[in-house]
Symmetry: C2
Subunit: 399 residues, 2 copies
């Protein structure tokens, strides 16, 4: 009894968390319910075009399968569904007309052969990464519709009529799905991608801005220091965001002009920025090891490169922060370039500190950690510059 109560409370908390993490989820659930109710209302009012029995199920099928969380996904699926149904239906009717000239046995053989070849070919096409990204759903629907038309029981004269009615119902379903998706609190996946990339840059900026203070503080052996500071870990989600960004960019291409985004917004550039961000995140991952107290070079040695290293990390962080803001607000600004220049200058000053052999006479085993940090920071400046340039390029492409 107590156990199941605990489980119920757990479930309640999980549901609340799901809704709080992204309230648009609740709205989306509401939209799906609404779209289906709209169809059921159509069904109850039964206008003339509803006179044919069970065909409403095609509208229901379409709404359930097409109405997705984001506008891009819904539009993509809706167009795929309508076009694929149309083409496959036409092809199926055509082939049936041809096979009808042969006898009963010939017809069976011809139908099976055409189903085999067309289903096989289209299935094979689904393996092409290019087609899969944009037209996977359409290809499945193509196979489905073609097989349904070919294997249907209806005599040929009825067939065309039934096919037209179904296509019509699918168009009705797609339209309802698209209208509900766009008109009620639309979720633009392009905008999500935009914000996600900006947030990812911000995560790197948070790490870099904090790194200098973290690494060069004099308190040795602070236990679990890194664990308590979320800004030192936020960047980790960037490491594995590649596939989600690519999916979003593909879906975003279906979306019409919305907000500050036009139809042919350069979504591909976001993938490019995302890749640059990840390169920088890999480097930060390597850098983060040295925040562990056990990995630190004694403070006395570390402090000799403190100033220029701290400057590099702070200025890189600021450059990324500015870059993230520019991206977020789609405004032009030369601020990041200033910070990049400062970071570069700090890197040069670090190099000249190193040239003056700051660790003369020290144990080389003790200095390698500090030397690695210096080397990684110098590399990071270049990567930060690349990110800022890619963001700049996006601004140019978008206007």
């Amino acid at each position: 009894m107590e156990k199941s109560w605990a489980k119920l409370v757990n479930l309640k908390n999980m549901v609340i968390k799901l809704g709080k993490d992204d309230p648009r989820r609740v709205i989306h659930s509401f939209k799906v319910g609404l779209a289906l109710v709209l169809i059921s209302i159509l069904q109850y009012f039964r206008p003339s075009f509803y006179a044919f029995g069970d065909n409403i199920m095609w509208a229901v099928l379409t709404v359930v399968l097409v109405l997705e969380f984001s506008v891009g996904a819904t539009l993509g699926k809706g167009l795929n569904r309508v076009l694929a149904t149309g083409f496959a239906g036409a092809l199926g009717v055509g082939i049936r007309r041809i096979t009808s000239f042969s006898g009963d046995k010939g017809k069976a053989v011809l139908t099976s052969t055409s189903v085999f070849f067309i289903a096989g070919t289209v299935t094979f096409m689904r393996f092409s990464p290019r087609l899969k990204a944009r037209y996977d759903y359409g290809l499945i629907i193509f196979i489905l519709t073609f097989c349904l038309v070919s294997l249907s029981d209806n005599p040929e004269n009825e067939l065309v009529e039934v096919a037209q009615e179904r296509l019509f119902m699918i168009i009705v379903g797609s339209c309802i799905a698209i209208v509900v998706c766009i008109c009620i609190c639309p979720v633009w996946i392009g905008q999500d991608l935009h914000h996600q990339i900006a947030a990812n840059i911000q995560k790197l900026a948070d790490f870099l801005e904090g790194f200098g203070d973290e690494y060069f503080n004099n308190v040795e052996n602070t236990t679990g220091a890194a664990g308590d500071k979320p800004f030192l870990h936020r960047y980790e989600s960037v490491l594995s965001s590649k596939s989600s960004e690519e999916t979003m960019a593909v879906l975003a291409r279906w979306e019409p002009c919305h907000g500050r985004f036009r139809f042919r917004h350069p979504w591909k550039q976001y993938i490019k920025i995302g890749n640059q961000i990840r390169l920088c995140a890999y480097k930060i991952k390597a850098l983060s090891v040295f925040l562990l107290p056990s990995e630190k070079t004694p403070y006395e040695l570390r402090s000799r490169i403190q100033e220029s290293c701290t400057n590099i990390s702070i200025e890189s962080g600021k450059a990324l922060k500015e870059s993230s803001l520019i991206l977020k607000h789609m405004a032009k600004s030369s601020m990041p370039n200033g910070h990049v220049a400062n970071a570069k200058a700090a890197a040069e000053s670090l190099k000249s500190v190193l040239r003056s052999n700051p660790w003369e006479g020290a144990d080389h085993l003790e200095i390698i950690a500090a030397a690695t940090v210096a080397s990684l920071l110098i590399d990071i400046v270049v990567l930060v510059e690349n990110i800022c340039e890619a963001v700049d390029e996006l601004a140019t492409l978008a206007n």
Copy 2:
């Protein structure tokens, strides 16, 4: 004319490449065609249970949507489809029975309300990552079936019969899909995951085995050396393999005993190994920068840590290679531990070389690259040991 001919040749090459990359794709396309032909044969022979007109389309729908490339995906979708249809159908019939006690208007309102709430709730459930991973398809089918039953035109006495017939056709379709998928050259996704993880370890091993020679060769300014050597780049695919591994592990859990894998094979451990592999790959990514001729410390300085660094990288590579072989052949062996011990010993000897201050008097700016390589290699030994331990653990869990 010539242009379209070139395009055609391009297309042909692409198709051949798709097939050659993985010949199982051709077999899968053949299997989809075959399963649909099997259904069309059933249709032509028309055994008694086929007497009801258009219901064959449910079998066609099921085969097209359920028959996936791998056994795990097919079984998962098939079970999801049958169970979801069964439950949703029962719920739908139950609710219709309740609403039938109210008048026409009451019925319309009750039906719409129940469709709204159930579709909304289940849509919301789809956002839970746990449910989404294993039951997403089932949840969609649940909404679909429930709406179809609720909004169907059939009078109630016919409804139960129609629902049963459709469920039966869906079971027939699922069975055909599953039988074809398992009996003709089955693609076990668990096996694929197993091989992919082993191959990923091998990729890291290739890099590490080659790194020593690459980094410490005396030929300065070899142009584009790294570009020509594929083994130095193969590891890059590991960096972004997280999501594909997770999907595969989820699907593998549906698969029954096959080959050397039993039903409850510890698939989760593969994700764990995969994560360890990626941690090592991030480190290798940082290491790979130093292969660029422009980043290299002068040979004279580099050579002072050559022996122990080369030993670390070769022994780490060998340990990973052995680990990959153990995983591949599911055999027990203590070989990797020997190599890990050697790598550790080499790391210790590198540390003692560093303690003897090999670069005394050298320019610190020039030595930081070499120091970074040394430091990264020392870190890599620990990560390699973790990978070998995770593979060991898998062997223990699997037996």
